[in-house]
Structures are given as structure tokens and as C-alpha cells.
């Protein structure tokens, strides 16, 4: 008789590199619950009770193995004086960069995340989800990493200009961001999240040079990981981790999510038995999938990385695009239940 595990047990098995009852999966539906609840994206993300209800509703319809209290990345820029621009048909974006002068960096202090209304809403969501789900279903928190925050704090051009012309300013900003990330991660854990996922595209050697990342970025990420008093995963949010993957795997993260352009099988081989691999679904491609495409993609990911545990099927970027239909999400969920049950004997056939 097959014993079905609870989602927390299933994820725990995967993170321990064991085969549970099936491959766990998580679809980062940060926007879709708005549609399910008949709310605008702005109204939905502004109402913690609606987000709790929406996450539970999607958890019920998809049966995936986690929920999220993450609202939107621009909330973190609000901590530094930035603004959020809501859209009716896509994720909120940040407005103009808030830090445009060197003097603003020189005066900058580490913001208290609990005092930022948009971040406080996310904490309320975490507490609400924890109250409803207890310890059975993991709650994933999230934050933007210290190297990537400057893209929205300064604007990418200014970030790279200052990296060339005033690197000390950038180093100061990175240190402030490290402290902010640690405080923000710990606040989420205190509110009830089970693990924090860091989105850090700038850890990709396609964006910053590998030399700079090794010298400044990896130590910063290690400090953030060590400062957050709980499980931490790292996503490069669609940017390839490339040759840095082995070094990233040494930083103590429980899971890593490289780009959809990278080979899942190769990444699994590098991380095997040490760090869980997350990913396998290309969010942008999902916009064009039929249910049959979804099933094929799930099977391909399971074949590449499912055996032996240590794998969580997920969308790489960290947010399912608004254009992905609920039909496709359901097809992904059904395919995981159909093909993801351990042992994955069908792979050998």
C-alpha cells in the first residue's frame, strides 16, 4: 500500500536527497489567485486576507507542495524610497530608481523591513498562511538578493557606471543590502515561512564578470545565507549560473534554481546528494503550452532530474507569468501526479 506523504514530508525527503512518495512540485502562482478570486492584481496584492485565500485556493486546485507569502519584488524597493507600478495584466514593476545620487548612498541606513507597508503585508500573509496550514504545507518566503537590488535601486546603467567609476559606493550599497536581506529574511521566518528563496540574477556570469562575483558576490551571498536563521534557497531568476554552479553549491543553500537554458541533468549531477535542484519548467514557454506540451515538459524534467530525490519541479524564474493558463497549470499538476510517483520506473522503459 502506498502511503501518501504530507507536502512538508515530501519536500523534506527531496531536500534530504531521498525519494518520497513522488517528486514534489511548486508553482509560484503569485498573480493567478487574483483571477481566481475575481480581483484586480493590485487589489489582490494589497489585501493580505485575499492573498491567503488565493494561495489556499490554488493550493487546493493544483495540489502543489507549497504556498508562498511573496507578493512582488518591487515591495523591497519601497523600503529604499522606490514605488510600485501596478499593471492590470502582469506583475507589478518598480518605478524610477530611488537612489540616483552618490550622496543618497553615503547617507543610506539599513531600512527596517517590518516598517515598510508593502513588506508588512507579506508578513501578514505569512502569519495567515501559517495559521491555516500549520506545519503540513511549507510556506516559501522570498527576497531579492544584495547584488541584484541595485538594479532597481539605482537603475542598471547607473549600477554599472558606478561599478566602473565609483566602486566604493557600490560596495557600501552591497553591505547595506546584505544587512537588509538578512533582516528581511529573518522577519519572514519569524512570521512563519518555512524557507526563504533569494532571487539573485546578478550572480550569473552572463551579467557580472565571474571574477567580480567570486571576489565580492559569493562572500556576500554566504554572509546573507549564514545571517538568515533558517533554510535558504537561491534562484538566479532565469539567468544562467554557468560555471559558478559548483561554487554556489558550497555556500550552504538547501536548494538552487539555475536557468531554464541550463541542462537539468548536468546541474543534478553537480549538486547530487548535496544540494537540491529546483526547476524544470520554462515560464515563458508555458504561455504557449497545450496540456500535452505540459505533460511532455514534466516528463522530460522528471527524466533528467527526478530519480534519487534532490529535485523539486518548479518554474525557474520564481513567478508563473500571467499569460500562463490555469488549464496548463492543472495539466502540469496532473502530469506530476501521473508520472512523478517514486520509483520512476517508466524512465528505464
Amino acid at each position: 500500500m502506498i502511503t501518501l506523504l504530507k507536502p512538508a514530508e515530501r519536500l523534506g525527503a527531496a531536500l534530504s536527497h531521498q525519494e518520497g512518495d513522488r517528486v514534489p512540485f511548486f508553482l509560484a502562482v503569485t498573480l493567478h489567485p487574483a483571477r481566481a478570486l475575481g480581483l484586480s492584481i493590485q487589489d489582490y496584492l494589497s489585501d493580505p486576507e485575499a492573498v491567503v485565500e488565493g494561495q489556499l485556493r490554488l493550493r487546493h486546485s493544483l495540489g502543489h507542495d507549497a504556498v508562498t507569502s511573496f507578493l512582488h519584488a518591487s515591495a523591497e524597493v519601497e523600503a529604499f524610497g522606490g514605488e510600485t507600478l501596478f499593471r492590470t495584466d502582469g506583475p507589478p514593476n518598480t518605478g524610477a530608481p530611488p537612489l540616483t545620487r552618490a550622496s543618497a548612498i553615503e547617507r543610506l541606513q539599513v531600512p527596517d523591513p517590518t516598517q515598510v507597508p508593502a513588506l508588512a503585508r507579506s508578513l501578514t500573509v505569512a502569519r495567515g498562511l501559517k495559521a491555516r496550514l500549520g506545519d503540513d504545507v511549507p510556506i516559501l518566503g522570498g527576497l531579492v538578493g544584495p547584488l541584484s537590488l541595485p538594479v532597481v535601486q539605482l537603475g542598471f546603467e547607473r549600477y554599472l557606471d558606478w561599478l566602473m567609476d565609483a566602486p566604493e559606493l557600490i560596495r557600501k550599497l552591497w553591505r547595506i543590502n546584505e544587512a537588509f536581506c538578512i533582516a528581511w529574511g529573518n522577519a519572514q521566518l519569524a512570521a512563519g515561512v518555512s524557507a526563504v528563496a533569494i532571487a539573485e540574477p546578478l550572480v550569473s556570469p552572463t551579467l557580472l564578470s565571474g571574477e567580480l562575483i567570486r571576489k565580492e558576490g559569493l562572500p556576500a551571498l554566504r554572509r546573507v545565507r549564514e545571517g538568515i536563521q533558517g533554510a535558504v534557497a537561491l534562484s538566479s531568476a532565469s539567468a544562467p549560473m554557468g560555471s559558478l554552479l559548483p561554487e554556489l553549491s558550497e555556500l550552504g543553500f538547501v536548494g538552487l534554481a539555475p536557468s531554464c537554458d541550463e541542462s537539468l541533468a548536468d546541474a543534478k549531477a553537480i549538486l547530487q546528494g548535496r544540494v537540491a535542484l529546483m526547476g524544470g519548467l520554462n515560464g515563458l514557454a508555458m504561455c504557449h503550452w497545450s496540456p500535452a506540451d505540459a505533460e511532455a515538459a514534466v516528463k522530460e524534467a522528471l527524466r533528467a532530474a527526478g530519480a534519487g530525490g534532490g529535485f523539486v519541479l518548479a518554474e525557474h524564474h520564481g513567478e508563473i507569468p500571467w499569460c500562463v493558463s490555469e488549464e496548463v497549470l492543472v495539466a502540469v499538476a496532473e502530469a506530476v501526479r501521473r508520472w512523478g510517483a517514486y520509483p520512476l520506473d517508466w524512465i528505464a522503459v
Binding site: 495584466d89 530608481p97 532597481v152 546603467e157 551579467l207 554557468g242 507569468p321
Partner: protein, 213 residues
């Protein structure tokens, strides 16, 4: 103008080392025998293209491409006559970012185009696709280059194209940015004419489009 692979290697190395003096020296030497635009087209542009290709192949970082482009910008500024290098015969062109404040693409593309002698107006950030199309029509643009970062913004290029068609404009739309690189089918889906994966390839793309109306 024939450029040896050794000289091209030197130019590429100067760009990656951010060594403006070395780059100036190579250009100055070439200018003793060749016209300015030709020197940029056959020496500096290919060196920057190599760097762009290395980024596309995953061997270099975008930051390195950007910093090399900035070095080229400085060099071009030293040779500017009336806002650009020697003029080409070309349709009116402008470039805008749709809906986002946080991308580098526009600056990289403008640097590549100006180095190649193309005159392109910088229209900054456009928040409304319809207004962008109306402006392009009013200006009589031959080409509108649109850069995007977010998938949603990329999909809104369709509104620009539809508005241009509704206005009867002959403006041709070229797009770029991460959503189009990650999803090559998106270019046709939104009705744009062409896209390329990296900025230094835009001059060659425009040259082919201008030659093939």
C-alpha cells in the same frame, strides 16, 4: 580597409581591459590611412561584435559588454561631427524603451549604431504604446527600435504595431531585450519585423533591412 586579426585582437583586448589609451592608439594609427567611418566599421565595430558574441555564447558578462560600449561611446564622442560620425543615407530612426526604467539595452544599441554612423533619436522611456506609435507616425519614422525587459512590456509591442497599421504608417518596428531573446517566437507574435539577441548585431540587422524594404 583590411584589419589584421592581430589588430582586431588588440582592439578587443583594449575594450575588455577598459584601456581607452590603447584603443585611441589603434584608431589613430588606422586613421592615418583610412576615413573615420571605415575605421570604426572595420576595426572598432567588429571588436565590439566579438565581445557581444562572447556574451551570447556565455563567455563574457553583460557588464563587460556594457563597459566596453561605454569606452566606445567615449571614443565616438571624440570623433563626433554634428552629433554623429559621418552620415549615412538612411531613413529616420528612433529608439525607445517600453515601460521600464531598468534596462541597459537602449544605451548599448545606441552606442553600436552611432559608432556605425547611424543617426538614431533617443526617445527615452515610453509608457503608452499608442502614444509611442502616434509619435513615430507624426515624426515620419522609417524605423522604430523598441527595447523591453518584462514579458508584459514585450507583448505590448503588439499595440504599437497595430496602432501604426491603423494609422497607415510605414514605420518598421525592430525589437530587442530579454523576452525576445528567451522566446524567439515572440517577435513575430507581436508583429515586429525583426530582432537580434545582442546590441552589437543591430547595425548589421538595420543595414540588411534598409537594403531590403
Amino acid at each position: 580597409m583590411n584589419v589584421s586579426s592581430h589588430t582586431l585582437n588588440q582592439a578587443e583586448a583594449a575594450l575588455l581591459d577598459l584601456d581607452l589609451e590603447a584603443l585611441r592608439g589603434l584608431v589613430a594609427e588606422a586613421l592615418t590611412m583610412n576615413p573615420e567611418l571605415e575605421v570604426f566599421e572595420t576595426l572598432v565595430t567588429p571588436a565590439l561584435e566579438r565581445i557581444g558574441r562572447s556574451w551570447e555564447d556565455g563567455d563574457l558578462a553583460l557588464a563587460q559588454v556594457y563597459m566596453a560600449s561605454r569606452l566606445v561611446e567615449r571614443l565616438v564622442e571624440e570623433h563626433l561631427v554634428g552629433g554623429q560620425l559621418a552620415h549615412r543615407s538612411q531613413p529616420l530612426m528612433a529608439m525607445a524603451v517600453l515601460e521600464d526604467h531598468h534596462i541597459l539595452g537602449k544605451r548599448l544599441v545606441l552606442a553600436s549604431l552611432r559608432m556605425g554612423g547611424w543617426a538614431v533619436e533617443d526617445w527615452g522611456v515610453a509608457s503608452d504604446p499608442t502614444l509611442l506609435a502616434e509619435r513615430a507616425h507624426s515624426a515620419g519614422l522609417g524605423f522604430l527600435l523598441i527595447s523591453t525587459l518584462m514579458d508584459r512590456s514585450a507583448r505590448r509591442v503588439a499595440e504599437v504595431v497595430q496602432t501604426l497599421r491603423a494609422l497607415g504608417a510605414s514605420t518598421r518596428v525592430v525589437v530587442g531585450g530579454a523576452p525576445f531573446r528567451l522566446n524567439p517566437a515572440l517577435c513575430r507574435e507581436v508583429g515586429a519585423e525583426a530582432t537580434v539577441a545582442e546590441a552589437s548585431a543591430v547595425p548589421a540587422l538595420l543595414a540588411s533591412l534598409v537594403g531590403a524594404p
